[in-house]
Symmetry: C2
Subunit: 227 residues, 2 copies
């Protein structure tokens, strides 16, 4: 399976020509997930989208888990190339690029939970994130932890701002606030903190993303300047 993630090794020569490709299967599965969500991705449906039997897929992919891993790495893609910049701007645009990737394929939030095999594209993302901090003065562990903190925040905001199936347009806190106000209408005395916080809210676009990023980067700056 690692072999699949890192490029298919040997096209055999003996039998009939394969009628499909791993790339085609992965692409069909991604298209399916993009339109109908990750739950709609089943072997049957992927095969049907390619006009084949589901069992034919197992000639190219060991199982569903590996297919999802392939989908994930391909859909993640490579981080866009950005010019060298000071660590803060570099990490900020890197985070926004990552958010854009989640925005393009919201199901990535589901397929990247839990322990899993990391593909080359995902590793490249991590590499670029870490490299934004190479000249910051932080040591290796700090760099990794810092990137982890940023990706965690991006994930959280994306997860809460992107409706799972198709929706995207980042209306950040839209749902949570509406769900909250619904509850607080009758239970406001039970959640006093939330109640007063909700009253002084300014419905700004994508605020949660940049707010948290600014906070994290400010914190990193403190750490870096402290030396």
């Amino acid at each position: 399976m690692i072999n699949l993630l890192w490029g298919d090794p040997l096209p055999p020569t003996r039998g009939p020509k394969p009628a499909m490709t791993v790339e085609g299967i992965t692409g069909a599965a991604i298209a399916l997930a993009d339109t109908d969500g990750l739950d709609a991705v089943s072997m049957q449906r992927v095969a049907a989208a390619l006009s084949f039997t589901k069992m034919a897929l197992y000639r190219y992919v060991p199982g569903k888990a590996e297919l999802v891993a392939l989908m994930t790495d391909v859909a993640m893609g490579l981080p866009p190339d950005r010019p060298r910049r000071p660590w803060r701007e570099a990490l900020m645009t890197w985070a926004l690029d990552l958010y854009a990737a989640f925005e393009k394929h919201p199901w990535l939030l589901l397929s990247t939970v839990g322990r899993r095999e990391l593909g080359p594209n995902e590793l490249t993302w991590m590499d670029h994130g870490v490299r934004a901090l190479t000249e910051s003065g932080l040591n290796g562990g700090q760099q990794l932890d810092a990137v982890l903190t940023v990706v965690g925040h991006v994930r959280t905001v994306a997860q809460q701002s992107l409706s799972m199936p198709g929706g995207s347009t980042g209306v950040t806190e839209e749902h949570i606030t509406s769900a909250l106000s619904e509850v607080l209408a009758t239970q406001s005395e039970r959640f006093p903190g939330l109640a007063v916080a909700m009253r002084s809210i300014d419905g700004q676009q994508n605020k949660g993303l940049t707010f948290g990023l600014d906070v994290i980067l400010d914190g990193l700056e403190v750490l870096i300047k402290r030396g």
Copy 2:
């Protein structure tokens, strides 16, 4: 279903006495998830644990999604009561408490992804988090965003440090580093940033959690002091 989350309303009077309770079902499901993971929670297995047929559960719970929502809110529990303290210490211990909750029921990381119905316990967690910041000078939206950033980081670290089925003992970066070093052994030139970062790592316990929290709180402090 909301009714279920917020307390069962009316025990009817006509037919035979119910032989189970929603609490019992939820408890059995939680126990099952604690030992064998969330994937092991099926209607059949939950019913079998209570020596009943799976269809009997549907008299108490509308469906599996609602059962998982119940499990989630119950397992989350209420945040421990802590004495009033300045916002920074309050938020820090709140975050550590939240991490402990995820440590106790690792499957919460899976059951709390995507759009879902928020239960009273989960809302209480949010309320306590926000209330830690009431005297910080931040406005309501900022308070919510700040708490969201913290929970995002806690989730990320927990997710990567807790092995899904049963394991717990927070050996934070253990897996990611081992998986990374495995790849970097042969592909180090392809991920130069990761390669050098891995070389200067100090295998400290649970470092990722406190590191990120310190960074976030430092950033909040900057924002607050700026006024």
